[in-house]
């Protein structure tokens, strides 16, 4: 459950949002500047709410009026960033295993699990390559694995398929959906590509200004 009712403020941007996401995949559709990415950053805890309340599951995690703010590292969220943000000093597989290590999994099983998941997403052959040497599509797939691998209780995907070529999108999309259903979590997918959202999401909210 993700429930956000309040003002999202990032820099000079400010907009009211009222979003409730159950165990479903909700697509957020809107042009650039409509605040989609800002909403995801607010839910992840990277930008505090201006006012209002944000709940993850049953927990209130951000409520300025009640002086409540839970740090991002305590929110158990999986997120694909628009620019992927893979660590440049690590290999693809170490990047993918990072959330597991943060959750106390030992290195060997974490790397093994990451390698398996990279294979599912068709990037096993670049597992040992350093992140900066990956192509846009490869790095995006690693970012997707990284967002899903730690059994998060909410998943936020910012343009998750933008760098993946047309031919392999359907496969990647199916794998994402499979994992989200298996995890049984709330997921928000942000995109400016309506067709993409139609294919991946169970419901679509339009935020075009």
């Amino acid at each position: 459950m993700i429930s956000l009712h309040g003002t999202v403020e990032v820099g000079s941007f400010s907009r009211e949002f009222s979003i409730d996401v159950g165990n479903e995949i909700v697509g957020m559709f809107g042009a650039n500047g409509s605040g989609k990415t800002s909403v995801l950053r607010t839910i992840a805890g990277l930008c505090p709410l201006g006012n209002g309340e944000l709940k993850l599951g049953d927990d209130l995690v951000d409520a300025p009026a009640k002086n409540m703010f839970v740090l991002p590292e305590m929110r158990n969220i999986g997120m694909v960033f628009q620019d992927h943000s893979l660590f440049p000093f690590m290999t693809a597989v170490d990047n993918a295993a990072f959330p597991l290590l943060m959750r106390g999994v030992k290195r060997a099983p974490a790397v093994k699990m990451a390698a398996e998941m990279l294979e599912q997403f068709g990037v096993a052959h670049v597992a040992q390559h350093m992140a900066p040497t990956l192509s846009g599509g490869q790095s995006q797939r690693v970012a997707i694995v990284r967002a899903l691998i730690g059994s998060p209780s909410a998943v936020l995907l910012d343009e998750p398929l933008s760098a993946i070529d047309e031919a392999s999108r359907e496969g990647v999309r199916n794998h994402i959906r499979e994992h989200l259903v298996r995890l049984g979590v709330s997921a928000i997918v942000v995109s400016h590509d309506r067709t993409e959202l139609d294919h991946l999401c169970t419901r679509i909210e339009n935020y075009t200004r």
Binding site: P72, N76, F87, F89, F98, G150
Partner: protein, 266 residues
């Protein structure tokens, strides 16, 4: 190739050539004075060995001390907004522009045994005396080396894109883990450059050391102090030790070459 900017006027070339000669001549002069046949014997002389040992130990300790104090300072200067930031910045840079002897006098005022601000207290409470001791050498060297480390680390911290630390936080990394596993690897080039510069500065320290810690052979006499002392009594030894210090400096430059010499960066 015929654009105006790619043609170098003759007077500029001559000026540059004179600059090269000006910088190279002392090095050549030094090398010419080194007595190569007795070099090994000179460098293993008791006074020289003592000086090298003290220099090496004190400069490494001073670099570690500068790191312990400098990293938090650099972090705050690069990433925190606080009143007095300009003042702290100026304070950090002060040892860089201060005449080293004056730095030594200032250290006496702070840690001097009898009338220093903290010196009396340190002595009566813990029995620690900084003046005329190895610890004094370390403190004096750290004092002058700190700015180099802070400047390098501050620049490095500023150039790190926060997105990596943000994504690490979302993945569950706490403050400390984030610093160790994300910030530090990203900071590595600036850290290495800063450590090398600080160490070189500490190794070459003269003025603050001789003023604050004295020039006692076997106790506070570092290699630069030994060179100065030997120049009258044993010039051959002085040149031998100087040669070794030049060699170390050149080694450092080679280590730093990617950053400053012939590098495409900066």
């Amino acid at each position: 190739m015929n654009s105006v900017s790619s043609r170098t006027p003759r007077f500029v070339r001559i000026g540059a050539l004179l600059g090269v000669v000006f910088l190279a001549l002392p090095v050549v002069g030094l090398l010419k004075r080194v007595a190569w046949s007795t070099l090994c014997r000179q460098l293993t002389d008791v006074a020289t060995r003592d000086a090298l040992r003290i220099s090496l130990y004190a400069s490494v300790c001073a670099t570690v001390l500068a790191l312990v104090l400098g990293l938090p300072l650099a972090w705050c200067l690069a990433r925190m907004q606080f009143s007095g930031r300009r003042f702290v910045r100026a304070l950090v840079l002060l040892p860089m522009v201060l005449p080293p002897v004056v730095g030594g006098v200032a250290l006496l005022g702070a840690y001097g045994k009898s009338n220093g601000l903290l010196g009396g207290l340190l002595n009566s409470l813990f029995g620690i005396q900084l003046t005329y001791s190895l610890w004094g050498v370390i403190v004096a060297e750290a004092f002058v080396a700190l700015p180099f480390l802070v400047l390098s680390l501050e620049g490095g911290l500023r150039s790190i894109d926060v997105k990596y630390e943000e994504s690490a936080a979302v993945m569950g990394a706490t403050d400390f883990t984030r610093f160790m596993r994300v910030t530090l690897p990203l900071l590595k080039p600036s850290l290495i450059a800063g450590l090398m510069l600080a160490w070189a500065r500490a190794l070459g320290e003269f003025g603050a050391t001789i003023t604050f810690a004295g020039n006692i052979q076997g106790r506070t006499q570092t290699a630069p102090l030994a060179v100065y002392t030997m120049l009258e009594s044993n010039p051959e030894g002085a040149y031998a030790l100087s040669f070794l210090l030049v060699a170390i400096s050149v080694g450092l430059l080679v280590g730093l070459r990617d950053r400053w010499i012939g590098g495409s960066s900066q």
